[in-house]
Structures are given as structure tokens and as C-alpha cells.
């Protein structure tokens, strides 16, 4: 190390690095592989400085570089038709994709994971997960308008599950509620495969006018670079600094936070302040700071711009003055943004900051050198081509192969298994089975969770949980709006990754269409185990291939997403869990279709046919069985069903609709009855005979492409005609009996709504208080 020391640190300058090629650097501790470090040296033509090493190591990590998945993710960009691109204003690659809604409106949405922080410290991990995804949305120039939270926990009765559940839900609520963003939906699944690896995914959606779309680039020679929001602390850089060689007293390394604490108030102010910047057109480019902090923001802004960038790192406002340059570059402190501002807007920018009492510091400016130069008290400590940091990271073609156990797994069907032996068939047995199903951990009411979320704030929530999709009004004059649903079934994907990913898409698509919206775009969060395990890598490759094929067939593009790997405990990975979010559009959200019926005497129709598909089902899960084939994917059928549900909503033919998914017809009938406390009388013999299945199978099978709807008497002819004209299977299975107070399955059993409700709503309070 050189003697060019300041008061605090031995600073490793570029000049110094050039003349001290043999200095040992802690690249392995920072997570780089030998070949990757060699690449850095090759790219630079010398050894990296400590600060450069910090940047490359975080930017070339799996999380930031997508090195294991990049080769596969390409398919999302390749399998797209011109038609699919029509409404895509910004595609994959930016902070979040942007979709055209018409009338000059655009919508941006994205889903991300915050899995491992949420295991370590559930409250803060989940809270900062919401914070991070919301900043992605702001950085596109949008006003965030809603969030969603797909969750996976370990077994419901496991002693550690309550800790994670309580913390994660309170954290999501605590942060999201404080931002004024309604939570409009999500998922909740308990499965022991997630015991040591809960999944906390978070989705945010924002809206903007077309002219307000902002991109993350630093262009325009002489424009100023500014960092604003929270101060930079030692967050997210590990317990002990491996860059201790930089610190002047290496005998006493300062403490670094083990977890990050979110400050939702700071983020709320940041949102308002950014919207004010956008309103005044005060920023040329903007980027949120998430993983890899300033390393990521500077290198991405610079490499997406038209020149270079030069910044002085000592200008960064610090929460902890002991941070070394490398640590400042790596810090993941929350609630920060970086922007590029033209000199004439500097005063107006500062006025906006002062109004909201947001701290900022000017770090440097855009240059025309094509280099990213970072200085420490004037000495150059980073001199790189920013592309090499941000975009030219390593890419791996990891080996993958169909696991040798996959065939045996698929051969082990539920039908005929030991667990299936006691399949209920009597009236009493069926009623008990329905009660057991709707009280089960995954099928029970999610009120315990969703009651902790503000769904009203903003005044534009036209629909939220427990309806099939969340619906947000975008334009108060016209009612233009969006619908969103997220889905994934880890068991299906475990049985068959290719089709499992397609089933996740099918279900999210179906949920959006059931609400009456036209599906338009997809975002996904791929939660998998270690890519270094060829079995897992195969699951990932298959899931991406399946999802991209299905998007093409359904005609809706993936506009962005996130990959979360290494979700495993020891060598045991989680079920492959590709969470898929589908966004749909309403010309007028007043047309949204809720999931519960209300009007006495309306006819209940079942759309679609039922096959014997119990493998991987909730019922099989309840019986402790997992094997066989995932339900059949039929995208053509999903599309047809979607068209019927959308038309029926638009033309006012139906008053309620609920799709059939996990838990099948049994779950759907109960949920639609409980929604408004309006019972129904249904008769199932005819459909069972038509489809050639027994009543148990009709109730519990998870065949895709189905929904139940309630149709006003006056619309029955029109509705039937529409289905018939489309040759879509439809059957009238009952009527709404609003005052009857029961779900009456004729000839079999009558279940009072109170009894169903008690079963459905009692489970989470029983376990979690």
C-alpha cells in the first residue's frame, strides 16, 4: 500500500496499483472466483485498487450480474412478437418495464425478492424489501400506487414459523402502510421446504404520463451528479470489513450492521420529493440505490449514458465516519437515490430538497471520457470503463440435467397411493373434507395477514384481497385502471418445472381475467436453490423456457423481474418457486368483477371441464403426498376463458366471478359464498356425469382453465349464447341463495356459512394469535 495516506485511511490509488502489482487482495473473501478476478485484472490491464475490487465484486455477484441465469433469461426478450411489443414502452433491462395504458398513461411494475434478509430479521428484511422495490418504481418517473406481497413460510406449526410470519407481515405492513401504498394482494403458502428459507417477494406498481418516463442514464457533458436521501452507513457490507487493509487502524475494525433497518418515513419523503423533481423536469437521469449501492448507481448511470462520470467520494454524506472508500461504494443503505441534474436546474433541485428536508450532496459530473473516475480527496481510486462493471460481468453456462429422481417422482401418482386409500365418498365424509380443506394452512382465510395492511389509502383501490386480483384506478375521470395478480405453485413446479412455471402464469392470467381486466404484461421473481446444483439448474432452465414459451402463446411479454438463487438449507433446495405477476388493463374499473356473489336468485355457472387431476393438489398435500404429474397446461383454453370473463364483465353479463385454482371447486364455492355471506344451492351430479368424474374429484381436482360465475336472470340467455358460440364448456350448477345461510350441495350435504366461516377464518389466529 502506498504512503499517500489521509488522516484516516491508507488509500489505494490507481497510481499505486499500477506500481504495486503483487499486492494481495481479498478477492475470494469478497466472493470473486479466481477466473473472475483474473478477468478484472485483464479488463483493467493492472490489478484493481481496493475500491475497484469492491465495485467489481458486488457488481459481478450473482445478485447483480445474473451470471447463472442470464443465458436463459434471454428467452424473455427473444420470444416476443411485434404484437407483444406494441404496448411495451420500456422493456427488460431498465429498473422496471413500462407498459402503455392508452390516453397518455403508462404503468410500471416489478417484483423482487428479499428472502434471506427476511429469515435473519423478518421485520426489517421484509420492510426493506418493500422499500427497495418501491424505489425501482420511482426511478422510472412513476408515482407508486400499490404493493403486493407473495410469501412462503415453513410448516405452520414449526416453532420458528411464527417468528418469521409475525415479523415479515408486520414489516411489510409497517413499511408499506407508512408509504401510503395500498396493499392489494399477494400469496401465503406454508410448506416445510421453506423452513430455513422463507420467501418474501414484493411487488410494486406505479403510474405516470408518457412524457414523465425517466431512465437511468447519465448524459450531457457537465451535468451534475447528486446523491440524495438517507446518509450512507455500513449497511449490507458484512460484519467485519474484509477491506480492512484500507482502514488506518486495522487492529480495531469498526462494527458494521448485521442487518439493515428501514426508515419508511424517509422513503415517503423521498417519493414526494422525487415526484416534485419529475414535475419540474429537474432531473436528466435517475437511479435508485439498492444492492451494490453507489457502485451500481454510478456504473449503471455512466454506462447507460453518452460519456463518462467523475465523482469525489469524500462528498458522500456518511452516517458512520469510519467507512472506508470501498465500504462506501458497497454500502446498501436504504432510502437513497442518485440523479443527474443539468447546471441550470441545480438551484431548483436544491429548493425541492430543502422543502422536503431531504439531505443531498453533489458528488461530481458527467464527462466525455467514457471512463468512470472516482476520487478520494482528489486522488483517483477508481478508473474504469463503467460498462465492464455494470454489464460485462461473467456469464456462466452452468451444467444442468434432468434429475435422476424426476421420473420416479412423476410416476408416484396420488390416485392409487396409500394416502389416497381413504378417499371420502359419503355425504358426511365429503362435508368433512371440504371443512378440512378450507381450514388448511394454505387454503384458510388470509385475513390475519391482510387486516394488517392498508388497502384503502389513496382512494383508488377498486378491488383488493380476497378477490382474485387487486384493481387500482389510474385516471379518476375515465376510470382507466389496472389489475394485478401474483401466483406460483412450488409443488407443481417441483413435479414439472417447465409446466409448473406455465401454470403459475396461467393462474395469474386467469385471476386477472376473472376480475375483468385484459392481461397485458408479466413480471416474475424466480426463487430457486443453488445454480451450482445441476438438478436445480435444470429446474431453473426449464421454468424459464416454460414461462417464456407460455408468454409467447398468451401474447403477453415479460417486462422485468428478478432471480433469487441459493434458496436452500444445506444441500436441500426449496421447491422451485417462479412467482409470476400479471398486469391487466381496464378501460373503466367500474366494470371489475368481484369474487363473491350477493344477489339472491342469480344463476351459478361453472366454466370449463374437470379431469381427475389430484397430483400436487392441496388435497394430496393435506394427505402428505407429493408426486405424479402437475395439472395439464392448456393455454388456448385459458385464453378462451379469459375472453369470456372479460366480455362478460364489459357487457355486464355477470355480477361475480371466481377462478378455480388450488383447492378446486370446493374452495371456490366456499370462498364465493363467504365473501358477502350469501349462500348457494348447487347440484353437481350432471357436471360430474358430463366430465366422467366422481363428486370428490369434481370438488377437489385442480384442473386449470375453470371459473365459476354468477349471472343475473336477465343475462342468462346472452351469457349462454356467448359461451356456446365460442364452444366453451359451461354448465349451470346452481343458484345464489342469499338468505339461506348455507352452502347446500344438493343430495349430499348442507354446510351452514357460520360453520364454514369458523373453519376458514380460525386457522391463522389459532397459530399466530
Amino acid at each position: 500500500m502506498s504512503e499517500t495516506s489521509t488522516k484516516k485511511f491508507n488509500i489505494d490509488t490507481v497510481e499505486n496499483a499500477a506500481v504495486t502489482p503483487d499486492v494481495q487482495l481479498p478477492w475470494a473473501e469478497l466472493g470473486l472466483k479466481q477466473n473472475e478476478f483474473d478477468d478484472v485484472v485483464k479488463v483493467l490491464g493492472r490489478r484493481p485498487t481496493g475500491a475497484e475490487l469492491a465495485m467489481y465484486s458486488v457488481m459481478w455477484s450473482e445478485h447483480c450480474s445474473y451470471k447463472s441465469s442470464k443465458n436463459h433469461l434471454r428467452q424473455f426478450g427473444e420470444k416476443v412478437t411485434e404484437e407483444m411489443k406494441k404496448d411495451m414502452l420500456v422493456g427488460i433491462g431498465e429498473n422496471a418495464g413500462v407498459t402503455n395504458l392508452g390516453d397518455g398513461w403508462a404503468v410500471t411494475f416489478k417484483i423482487e425478492s428479499h428472502n434471506s434478509p427476511s429469515f435473519v430479521e423478518p421485520y426489517q428484511g421484509a420492510a426493506t424489501g418493500i422499500g427497495g422495490i418501491v424505489r425501482d418504481i420511482i426511478s422510472m418517473g412513476a408515482r407508486p400506487v400499490a404493493v403486493m406481497d407473495p410469501l412462503r413460510f415453513g410448516a405452520i406449526g414449526h416453532p420458528d414459523t411464527a417468528r418469521v410470519m409475525h415479523g415479515a407481515v408486520a414489516g411489510i405492513g409497517g413499511y408499506g402502510n407508512s408509504l401510503g401504498l395500498p396493499n392489494i394482494g399477494g400469496e401465503m403458502v406454508f410448506d416445510s421446504v421453506y423452513q430455513g428459507n422463507p420467501l418474501v417477494n414484493a411487488l410494486a406498481v406505479g403510474v405516470m404520463r408518457h412524457e414523465d418516463i425517466r431512465l437511468a442514464n447519465a448524459s450531457g457533458l457537465g451535468n451534475k451528479v447528486v446523491l440524495f436521501g438517507a446518509r450512507t452507513g455500513g449497511d449490507g457490507i458484512g460484519g467485519a470489513s474484509v477491506l480492512a487493509s484500507e482502514s488506518f487502524d486495522s487492529t480495531k475494525p469498526s462494527k458494521r450492521p448485521a442487518v439493515q433497518v428501514g426508515d419508511p418515513f424517509a422513503e415517503k419523503v423521498l417519493i414526494e420529493c422525487c415526484l416534485e423533481l419529475f414535475k419540474g423536469s429537474l432531473v436528466e437521469g435517475i437511479q435508485d440505490l439498492g444492492a451494490a449501492g453507489i457502485s451500481c448507481a454510478t456504473s449503471e448511470l455512466a454506462s447507460n449514458g453518452d460519456g463518462g462520470m467523475e465523482v469525489e467520494l469524500t462528498s458522500v454524506l456518511l452516517r458512520d465516519p469510519t467507512l472506508t472508500p470501498g465500504e462506501i461504494l458497497m454500502s446498501e443503505s436504504q432510502e437513497r437515490m442518485m440523479a443527474v441534474v443539468s447546471p441550470e436546474n441545480v438551484a431548483a433541485f436544491e429548493a425541492a430538497m430543502d422543502k422536503w428536508a431531504v439531505e443531498y450532496s453533489w458528488l461530481g459530473e458527467v464527462t466525455d471520457t467514457g471512463r468512470l473516475i472516482i476520487k478520494w480527496e482528489g486522488a483517483v481510486i477508481v478508473d474504469v470503463d463503467p460498462r465492464t462493471v455494470a454489464h460485462d460481468g461473467p456469464v456462466y453456462d452452468r451444467p444442468f440435467a434432468r434429475p435422476e429422481w424426476q421420473d420416479a417422482l412423476q410416476a408416484d401418482t396420488f390416485t392409487g397411493s396409500v394416502q389416497d386409500a381413504a378417499r371420502p365418498s359419503t355425504a358426511e365424509g365429503l362435508k368433512a373434507a371440504v371443512l378440512e380443506l378450507i381450514a388448511s394452512p394454505n387454503m384458510c382465510s388470509k385475513d390475519w395477514i391482510t387486516n394488517q395492511y392498508d388497502r384503502y389509502v389513496g382512494g383508488n383501490t377498486a378491488m383488493a384481497f380476497p378477490d382474485d386480483a387487486g384493481v387500482i384506478r389510474v385516471d379518476e375521470e375515465t376510470g382507466l385502471g389496472v389489475a394485478l395478480a401474483t401466483d406460483a405453485n412450488g409443488r407443481y413446479t417441483f413435479l414439472d418445472p417447465y409446466h409448473g412455471a406455465q401454470l403459475a402464469l396461467s393462474e395469474a392470467y386467469r385471476n386477472v381475467a376473472t376480475s375483468g381486466a385484459i392481461p397485458m404484461a408479466v413480471s416474475d421473481c424466480l426463487n430457486f436453490g443453488s445454480p451450482e446444483d445441476p438438478d436445480v439448474m435444470w429446474q431453473l432452465a426449464e421454468a424459464i423456457r416454460g414461462l417464456s414459451d407460455a408468454c409467447m402463446e398468451l401474447g403477453i411479454p415479460v417486462t422485468g423481474g428478478n432471480v433469487s438463487l441459493y434458496n436452500q438449507t444445506g444441500t436441500t433446495p426449496i421447491h422451485p418457486t417462479p412467482v409470476v405477476a400479471v398486469l391487466g388493463k381496464f378501460d373503466d374499473v367500474a366494470r371489475r368483477t368481484p369474487s363473491g356473489w350477493a344477489e339472491d336468485g342469480q344463476a351459478i355457472y361453472l366454466l370449463g371441464t374437470t379431469a381427475a387431476e389430484l397430483d400436487g393438489s392441496e388435497w394430496a398435500n393435506l394427505r402428505g403426498h407429493l408426486g405424479g404429474a402437475a395439472p395439464k397446461v392448456d393455454l388456448k383454453r385459458e385464453r378462451e376463458l379469459g375472453e369470456i370473463l372479460i366480455n362478460a364483465s364489459r357487457d355486464g353479463m355477470i355480477d361475480a366471478a371466481h377462478d378455480l385454482s388450488e383447492g378446486g371447486l370446493a374452495a371456490a364455492l366456499v370462498e364465493s359464498s363467504l365473501r358477502n355471506n350469501a349462500g348457494a344451492r348447487v347440484a353437481l351430479d350432471e357436471v360430474a356425469a358430463r366430465d366422467g368424474v366422481d363428486i370428490f374429484t369434481l370438488l377437489f381436482s385442480e384442473t386449470q382453465g375453470r371459473a365459476i360465475v354468477s349471472v343475473p336472470r336477465s343475462e342468462e340467455v346472452r351469457f349462454n349464447d356467448m359461451c356456446t358460440a365460442r364452444r366453451f364448456p359451461v354448465s349451470r350448477i346452481g343458484v345464489v341463495d342469499a338468505a339461506g345461510g348455507a352452502l347446500d350441495v344438493q343430495g349430499l350435504f348442507t354446510a351452514p356459512l357460520d360453520e364454514l366461516r369458523e373453519a376458514h377464518e380460525g386457522t391463522l389466529p389459532k397459530y399466530f394469535g
Binding site: 401510503g180 415517503k268 415526484l275 419529475f278 391482510t450 394488517q452 384506478r473 367500474a590
Partner: protein, 253 residues
């Protein structure tokens, strides 16, 4: 950026010029969340909404003020504790206590606004954490106990209304003497019906000052003014708050 204050901008046509002449201020603190919703509610009622900024000290000639819900200053320290010291609050306190005039300013505090009013001692008592310690969002039935205040005169006494409730620190407490006095003077404006959601003393959801111009409550009437966006997809029971103050201002009450 195009002027898009709400996700769209509520531009409901003023029905009546007399109503539109009433100017209702809505205060924004850092961390306020329901200001846009309160502005919308004012517009739906036909009045003109005026945005007020916490750091200003003038009221811009408004006829009434709403302190909306949210997490001003993150609810850090105590809900409403830091906001209470904003310059605008001093002006509001003066105008509401009416020391200088016989027409004290009507002030409505909703949720965080209610908490700010208690911290400012415009209303007695305080809010602590819900007894179950969780944030709770639900549709809540309230009984209108006093329909003679500036903000409740459009309701009938004893009327049940349903509006959203959503908070973490919603448990209303005061000492027994204060509670007895509130009851005796008819200053309990709203009570929870159908189960106490947070442990509030005597099921109190909202109260008023002695003059009836200052009202605070935890539930959110501004989230129940538009069919399709309130409780049960149809509820608009909250609108009465905003028409009440118009009655008061236009001399109808």
C-alpha cells in the same frame, strides 16, 4: 411533469357555486398519507379544497381545516408528537380556540390528525397502541353520538355509519374524570359498534371540543365518499362529515 396530483386529479364538477365558495384547507406534513383522499372528499362534497403546507404559518383564508391521516414524521416518538410543533399548527390552534373571534375555525382531525389534535391539547386524552398490538384495517361501524358539531350535523343522532378504520395506535385513553366529563358534556361524537377494535376507553372512536368546532376521530370518513372505493364496494357513509361542515359554514346549521 404533467400536473397529476392524484392518480388522475379529481375534478368533480362543482354542483353549486355557493358550495364551491367554501374553501376547506387540507394540511400536509411530511409523512401525511391521506391528504389526497381528504382533498377528493372535499371536492366530492362540492366545496373547494385548498392545500396547506405544515411549514407555512398562514391559513390562506380557508373556512375550515382538515388534518388528514397518515404517519407524519413516521409516527416516530409518538404519533403526532413532532407534527404538533409545526408552524401551521400554532396558527390552527389559535384559530380553533377562537380566542380572537366568535366563529372559531372548524377543524377535523382524522386518525393521525386526531392524534395531532390531542398532542396539541385541542382535544383531551391520547392514543396508545392498539390493545392487540397490531395494525388493523377493517370496515368499522360507528354510532353518531353527537350530531350537533360542525362536522356531524348532517347525520342523525344515533345513526350507524360504516367507514374504514386503519391504524396501529388507535386506542383512545383518558383519565376517568376526563371521560366522565366528555360523556356529560355530550362530547363523545362517535362510538365503535359491533366490537371494540382496539381497546379504546368506553368504545370511543371520536370526540369534539366543547364548542363543537374541533372534532377528531380514528376511522376514515374520507375513504367512504365514492361508491366503489369504500367499505363493501358501495359505502359512502363518510360524505356526511364534509357536507356537515358546509352546513355549518353556509349557515344551514
Amino acid at each position: 411533469m404533467t400536473e397529476t396530483p392524484l392518480i388522475g386529479g379529481a375534478t368533480l364538477a362543482p354542483v353549486d357555486a355557493r358550495l364551491a365558495g367554501a374553501r376547506i384547507g387540507v394540511v400536509t406534513f411530511p409523512g401525511t398519507l391521506d391528504d389526497r383522499d381528504a382533498i377528493r372528499a372535499v371536492r366530492v362534497s362540492g366545496a373547494t379544497a385548498v392545500e396547506l403546507w405544515h411549514a407555512d404559518s398562514g391559513l390562506g383564508g380557508v373556512d375550515a381545516v382538515i388534518i388528514p391521516g397518515g404517519f407524519s414524521y413516521g409516527d416516530y416518538l409518538r404519533a403526532g408528537a413532532i407534527s404538533r410543533f409545526a408552524p401551521l399548527m400554532s396558527t390552527i390552534i389559535k384559530a380553533a380556540t377562537g380566542a380572537a373571534s366568535s366563529n372559531p375555525l372548524p377543524v377535523l382531525g382524522i386518525c393521525n390528525g386526531f392524534q395531532i389534535l390531542t398532542e396539541a391539547h385541542l382535544l383531551p386524552g391520547s392514543m396508545i397502541k392498539n390493545d392487540h398490538l397490531k395494525f388493523l384495517c377493517r370496515d368499522q361501524v360507528l354510532r353518531v353520538e353527537n350530531n350537533t358539531t360542525a362536522w356531524t350535523n348532517a347525520y342523525s343522532a344515533g345513526q350507524d355509519i360504516t367507514v374504514p378504520l386503519k391504524n396501529q395506535d388507535g386506542q383512545y385513553i383518558a383519565d376517568e374524570k376526563t371521560l366522565d366529563a366528555l360523556e356529560a358534556e355530550g362530547r363523545v361524537a362517535f362510538r365503535y359498534v359491533g366490537g371494540n377494535p382496539n381497546g379504546s376507553r368506553r368504545d370511543i372512536a371520536g370526540i369534539s371540543n366543547a364548542a363543537g368546532n374541533v372534532v377528531g376521530l380514528m376511522p376514515h370518513p374520507e375513504h367512504a365518499v365514492e361508491a366503489g372505493y369504500g367499505p363493501g364496494h358501495t359505502g359512502t357513509d363518510g360524505l356526511g362529515f364534509f357536507t356537515s361542515v358546509l352546513n355549518t359554514l353556509l349557515g344551514g346549521n
